[in-house]
Amino acid sequence: MTAAHKAAEGDSALLDFEELQELIRLFEATGLSEIEVEENGKRIRLAKAVISETHLVPMQEVKGNAAPKASPPVLNDLTESLLAEGLVTVDSPMVGTYYASSGPGASPFVQVGDTVDANQVVCIVEAMKIMNEVVSKVPAIVERILVRNGEPVEYGQPLIAVRPLA
């Protein structure tokens, strides 16, 4: 749905905002997986995560259960959009709790804009009272912190997005 935002950037808009909203609603209600309209170099593309042939749809969404689970499609979308920006992510090596600094009051290991070396500690993930240091694999500039201090994280969850230095 982020694609829709891009569409709004044009000057002589393909669709005005109300029409776009309407289109999104319509699209959502259909069984369609994709709508794409392109004109004069402007483009609108609406797509649904196609989990069609193989995967069962996440039940929680359908049933409306309150599921705080970080659902895989979202993760993948995020990773993909970061990749598209030329960023790489530092992922959690385990399930646990994310900490930006070595302790309460201490300054965070990194902040947006910092340059980090390869193997420099960028955060901590705590599991069973053990603080596991998480490092950047490459020299890079910190572009985005993706989780908040003290937030629970899953295995493989992107924590920090960095731009590798050439």
């Binding site: 042939e53 193989t54 996440p58 385990m94 399930v95 053990i130 994280v153 295995y155 493989g156």
Partner: protein, 448 residues
Amino acid sequence: MFKRILIANRGEIAVRIIRACREMGITSVAVYSTADRDSLHAELADESICIGPASAADSYLKISSIIAAAEIADVEAIHPGYGFLAESARFATICRESRLAFIGPSVEALALSGDKAQCRRKVLETGVPVAPGSHGVLQDPGEACRIAREVGYPVLVKASAGGGGRGMRIAHNEATLKHAVAMAASEAEAAFGNGGVYIEKFIEQGRHIEFQVLGDLHGNLVCLGERECTIQRRHQKLIEETPSTALTPELRERMTKAALDVARAAGYSSAGTVEFLLAPDSNFHFIELNARIQVEHPVTEEATGIDLVREQIRLAAGEPLGYEALPALYHVIEARVYAEDPALNFRPNPGIIRRCHIPGGPGIRVDTHLFSGYEVPRYYDSLLAKVIARGNTRTEAIERISGALEELFVENIATTASLCARIIRGERFRRGNIGPDLLAEYLEREKV
């Protein structure tokens, strides 16, 4: 009662536990490896947490990750299912230290059941018959030979830390016995970090009969009847049923009492199984105590109407048992559908199941995590589904399960479903003439 439970398992048993939670109004939290991202248990649970990569050692067996997941999900209890950490006294200890209820027996009962040689000795004290053999772990190879001469060959060499057929060897004479003891000890050392082995007399044509027990935290125990599990492939069960065609009411009564004696001696609580080997002369011998919910628990559930997983949860929360023996309402047969090819010596068969059809209708229950589009990962156990049929008679149960197994359809992957149907429809099974040689005899005849 618990409000939130973490399920430290995958596959059909995780789905089974999620269903019990749903009925009880408990929030279920699933954990999954990256290989199980799209699996049914991760979808059906109220919440799901990725705990590690595909390898079981780095996910489902990694205690620190399970505990960390339990902590961030803020659950009160952990259900370990079967396999993985289900019988780990160490895991249960860490749960206790982390103030998480372990839905299973006490740490002490787990430690005892996990040490087969010690358990054997403890059972001997209760007067329950144990297959003749060593009292505890062998001190030296000479002791093995002495005992074998006493009880007579063939004998089984077993790893004290093993179980479920793992680390087991058979010896027919002194030369092979010495070799077997040495091999078993070093294998057990490598596999379990414990090289202790013991021997017992091998009972030929013995039938494998186990009794389901349930215990609460207040010392009450109940026995919910037997399951015959003699038909196995590679020491793993393929077809189970209750009641067993081998038991008379008198024998069942004696074995029930023995099962309860064993459970009482072990200070057992939660659901557990006492396994016996029944010799052709109707003498029975204790083999081991399985300190977990068994794969084949639905056999007892369908026979008695009791929900064993629900009972496990209820009892772990401290509720009292509240009933004595329950009569069997039905004859029940279960067949296990593995993603294995019987024509290729049960070779596991991972891959994508593009389409499947699960049977249903009267008297049929299927416990499975299958769905059209499911990919069977190559990392874990190959059990795909359990088909369970109940009938007013053994014949009705046979007809129902055969029909259901024939209706079951799994595209792309060879399974054991059709083999099970043919065995069950076969004359020898119909006559109830079940023995450990039945499967081999059947496979041999099919080849011809």
